[in-house]
């Protein structure tokens, strides 16, 4: 997938170009759908969420600023924000957190090997953190786990988890700079 192409498509979408919208969907939907399934935990809700995400992509395309990041990162932000809003709204209603799924696997060796550029950099920096903290950061970003979920999965008090995670984020930032 070519980032420059996606940026150009998004700019055309802002000008109400439906063909560009279809092309953008073809290129970006599988990644976004994979992410939504991971966060929502089931396909049916992820499909509903994907419809809403692409509705927002169409409606908000004019706000995309290529100087502030790529089109895919922009779309990922829309998808994650929507999915996290949905699960934060439903979890207090009594949905049990699946502790098994709260333990996110580290990327497989082959994934680490092919990770390059920006992705390689963040993987490299995460690998320098305490593995439990790196796992928590991945679990939060990629699976939408809240502090409460992560604390439960790690079997530590929420404030302890929060202190760990904040320390990890500071180290991560230092490493990325």
């Amino acid at each position: 997938m070519n980032t420059i192409d996606l940026n150009a498509l998004l700019i055309r979408i802002a000008a109400q170009d439906r063909a560009a919208f279809s092309a953008f969907y073809s290129a970006a939907a599988p990644k976004l759908f994979g992410l939504l399934i991971r966060i929502m935990g089931n396909r049916a809700e992820a499909e509903d969420a994907l419809q809403e995400v692409f509705t927002r992509i169409w409606l908000r395309a004019a706000r995309f600023d290529p100087d502030r990041g790529g089109a895919m990162a922009w779309a990922v932000t829309i998808a994650r924000n929507h999915a996290i809003d949905l699960i934060r709204a439903r979890r207090p209603l009594g949905d049990e957190v699946d502790l098994d799924s709260a333990a996110d696997p580290a990327p497989r060796a082959e994934t680490q090997l092919i990770a390059q550029g920006e992705a390689g950099r963040i993987q490299n920096c995460l690998s320098r953190l305490d593995p439990a903290v790196a796992r928590a950061i991945r679990g939060a970003y990629l699976s939408g786990h809240s502090y409460a979920d992560l604390a439960k999965a790690a079997n530590v008090p929420l404030n302890t988890l929060r202190t760990w995670l904040r320390r990890g984020l500071i180290s991560l930032k230092d490493c990325m700079q």
Binding site: P30, Q51, I137, Y147, R162
Partner: protein, 232 residues
Amino acid sequence: MSAPVSDTVSDDDADMLAAEYVLGVLDAPDRARAEDMARHSPQFAARIAAWEAQLSPLVDEVAPIVPAPDLLHKINARLFGARAGFWARLLPKTRMAGSIAAVLGTGAMAALSVIVIAVMLHFSGGIDRPLQSATLIASGSEVRFQAQLDGGIVTVLQTAGAPPMAGRSYELWLIDGDAAPLSLGLVSGRLTLNLPPANAGFVLAVTDEPFGGGPGGKPSGAVIAAGSFPEI
């Protein structure tokens, strides 16, 4: 959990809050507060953007999954379909109707605009599941609620946008067909109640009202969010 969310937090705390927001670990009220801060503080919004840029390469770990082939058609129908086009053409009038309703305080006008917006946003097919959810939104409003219906119990939770201004309240309404909107109470962050009897396709709407609710039990202010549960 309560995050130290305020405009007076130190730079380090603000940066950590931005990181926590982007990571998605905050609960719904803290998320809403962080979004509110981002709207009012360009510096805080920039911190969020920086963390988004830093963390987004993690998505490379996610395996792509191709959605069902008819999903793009559903999205296109929602955005551009014959019915969608019809409602989209109505929308500018609806906005006008909304401001007229705000000025005149007529419940009927508010109800009409709610129905138009809700139908426009929610005619995609429902999915058979016992617990139903709906997103309540309205054009031109940053406020957003998530509603869940489970065995006749409705829970409405504010997930985005600012709380009511001083001296104002957010009020939840049930709009069932042509019947007058029925107040379900004031929503302060979250509201749980037993749903009164209503016909399929009813609409939930939130209006911005004087403190304590619309005078005479009728909506008088602007519709800030509306939606309906997909029909099963």
